[in-house]
């Protein structure tokens, strides 16, 4: 029983990262109707940025977020101007399809680039407090992963406030609801797109940092994280950042429960099966409107 409880707790902890990884994808897809399948590669780049920020600047791993997030914002702006800004000119159906293809090309390119620059080796960040464990009853909770969960929650909460309170956050939400109506009320829709994409990329960077701290980074983690993010987006549906976070936790727990029932190797399969089933039966997602 304690073994199962321990696994579920670990599942919950990684679920927070799933939620954070999915939040950026959900924002971009919801607002721009652009499905960026290179999201996992953006997470991978964030992970490397954190790795080098810690290695070269000697920053504390969690403090590296302060470097990685602004860098990712800039990357998002550059990618929007260079690539995705062209895609949003097409009508909706073509837009989704073309963005998928462009995201795919981008994923391939970034992966190959990462292998060339940093080799295919796995890297992780070693911290003095890396082995610290919090004991609660019979459960032991790794401090780093608990801190990652808290940061992921704080970032999602912050984003939620931004979207609800900030003037431009409201503009972004209005664009997601109905871009034509938003345009008629005088909202600069293109700028809302740019904002959504930049924030989405920044969230990917933050997720990559936490992944590298708690686990490890290599050029090939992209596809895996894109799939996790897609699963969560489909599970949770579009429209609510907090719903996305809960969806992430749900996936983490479901994976842990299935690993305990069917054995470790099948944890990936269960998430994907859930994904296909929800996609076919309830395409709006569990919490979607």
């Amino acid at each position: 029983m304690t073994v199962l409880a321990q696994q579920l707790v670990l599942g919950l902890l990684i679920g927070g990262l799933y939620g954070l990884a999915a939040a950026g994808l959900s924002l971009v897809f919801g607002v721009m109707k652009v499905l960026d399948v290179a999201h996992g590669e953006l997470i991978m780049l964030g992970g490397y940025a954190a790795f080098f920020a810690v290695g070269l600047l000697g920053l504390d791993p969690f403090a590296s977020l302060l470097v990685v997030i602004p860098l990712s914002l800039l990357l998002g702006v550059a990618l929007y101007w260079g690539l995705f800004g062209f895609v949003v000119r097409a009508d909706e159906e073509t837009r989704v399809k073309n963005s998928l293809l462009i995201g795919f090309g981008l994923a391939l390119t970034l992966h190959a680039l990462a292998v060339l620059l940093w080799t295919a080796d796995e890297r992780s960040i070693v911290t003095p407090y890396g082995g610290a464990v919090l004991s609660v009853g019979t459960l032991s909770i790794p401090v780093i992963r608990l801190a990652s969960l808290a940061i992921a929650f704080a970032l999602i909460g912050g984003l939620h406030l931004l979207l609800v309170r900030w003037r431009w956050g409201k503009a972004v939400r209005a664009t997601a609801e109905d871009w034509q109506a938003a345009l008629l009320t005088g909202i600069d829709v293109r700028r809302a797109y740019l904002l959504a994409f930049a924030i989405g990329t920044a969230l990917a960077g933050a997720a990559g940092t936490l992944v590298t701290i708690g686990y490890s980074v290599s050029p090939s983690i992209g596809l895996e994280w894109t799939l996790k993010a897609l699963i969560v987006v489909v599970l949770a549906g579009l429209g609510s950042m907090l719903g996305t976070f809960v969806g992430g936790l749900l996936l983490g727990v479901a994976e842990a429960a299935s690993a305990a029932t069917f054995g470790g190797p099948y944890r990936e399969v269960v998430g994907l099966v859930l994904f296909v089933v929800v996609l076919v039966i309830r395409p709006r997602g569990l919490f979607g409107r």
């Binding site: 090309g105 391939l108 390119t109 099948y266």
Partner: protein
């Protein structure tokens, strides 16, 4: 800017396009026929292996082209059917059945599986279909690598009897079959219906095209060919992990070759396959995976600027000259 836009836009579907594609089919089949002389003229193993790879790639690209290029359904789980074909064919063949029987059985299983999941998957439109099939492919790959983690190696007496020319001629025949299938499809009512769905599914339904039935037909043809190609892979390689042919890179290769050459055309995927394999083999000699950087960038440029691929570029250049 539709995904599967053919070169020259409005010409597709007309009688002219049929004749146009028949001429290309004849040219490609003649070229393949000439390649039949290769093992006699240049019995160097590396050359034969190289052309074998091109032929396998032509079959794979052409098979993906049917469902994505003609019917407009971007299937990102194509590797699942290549893998199923390989798995079934390898099992039956090493059990002592003739390879052709084993390959046909593999293709049949792949097609059957495709029809089974197709009914559910085609409830999804556009990008949702794409990510749904991507997940499906990964489910199969994960499961196969869990159930069959051991490497599959041919028994020693089979290795001793291994003859490359056999594999080569089988690959040649398969490539010819794939080109023929697409050529017949392109000139037929069936192909016309598929293109109608690709351009506008609602409009096609409204004018009496049974969209689901045609999409399933396209998927069956596409996955059947992919299953055959998988069987060829299983016949060619001496040892590999059973999950390897299920890897997503098989889908990605097919997608890149088709788009670079020209999606939704007969000769585009053939051109794409030749260029892709040539560049990949030569570049990989010096830098591993460097070709993916080049092809990724070229692919993005093609989607943004030249949705008809190299075929469209050639068409434009020809018109500039002849004007």
């Amino acid at each position: 800017m539709s995904v599967g836009a053919p070169p020259g836009g409005g010409r597709s579907g007309s009688a002219l396009a049929g004749r146009f594609e028949r001429r290309w089919a004849a040219a490609i089949l003649v070229a393949l026929g000439l390649l039949g002389l290769l093992p006699l003229a240049a019995p160097r193993e590396d050359v034969v292996n190289f052309v074998f790879l091109i032929l396998l790639s032509i079959t794979l690209a052409q098979s993906w082209n049917i469902v994505a290029g003609y019917a407009g359904q971007v299937n990102l789980g194509h590797a699942a059917f290549f893998g199923l074909g390989a798995l079934v064919a390898r099992t039956l063949w090493t059990d002592g059945r003739p390879i052709v029987v084993a390959m046909i059985a593999g293709a049949a299983i792949a097609t059957l599986f495709a029809l089974l999941i197709g009914v559910a998957a085609f409830r999804l439109r556009g990008a949702y279909f794409a990510i749904g099939t991507l997940a499906l492919g990964e489910i199969l790959r994960s499961t196969v690598s869990n159930v069959l983690p051991e490497i599959s190696t041919l028994p020693t007496q089979t290795i001793a009897a291994y003859r490359l020319t056999q594999r080569y001629y089988l690959a040649l025949a398969l490539a010819a079959v794939s080109v023929l299938v697409v050529a017949v499809l392109a000139g037929s009512r069936l192909g016309l219906g598929m293109r109608a769905i690709r351009e506008d599914e609602e409009a096609a339904e409204a004018s009496g095209v049974g969209a689901l039935r045609l999409k399933l037909t396209a998927l069956a043809l596409s996955t059947g060919l992919a299953g055959l190609a998988g069987g060829l892979f299983a016949f060619y390689h001496i040892s590999y992990y059973p999950s390897h042919p299920f890897g997503p890179h098989w889908t990605f290769d097919a997608l890149l070759m088709t788009f670079i050459g020209g999606v939704g055309t007969l000769h585009g995927p053939v051109l794409g396959a030749v260029i892709y394999v040539v560049l990949k083999e030569y570049v990989a000699l010096r830098w591993v995976d460097f070709h993916l950087l080049i092809f990724g960038a070229v692919f993005i440029a093609i989607v943004l600027l030249l949705p008809g691929g190299l075929v469209q570029a050639a068409e434009r250049a020809r018109r500039l000259i002849t004007r």
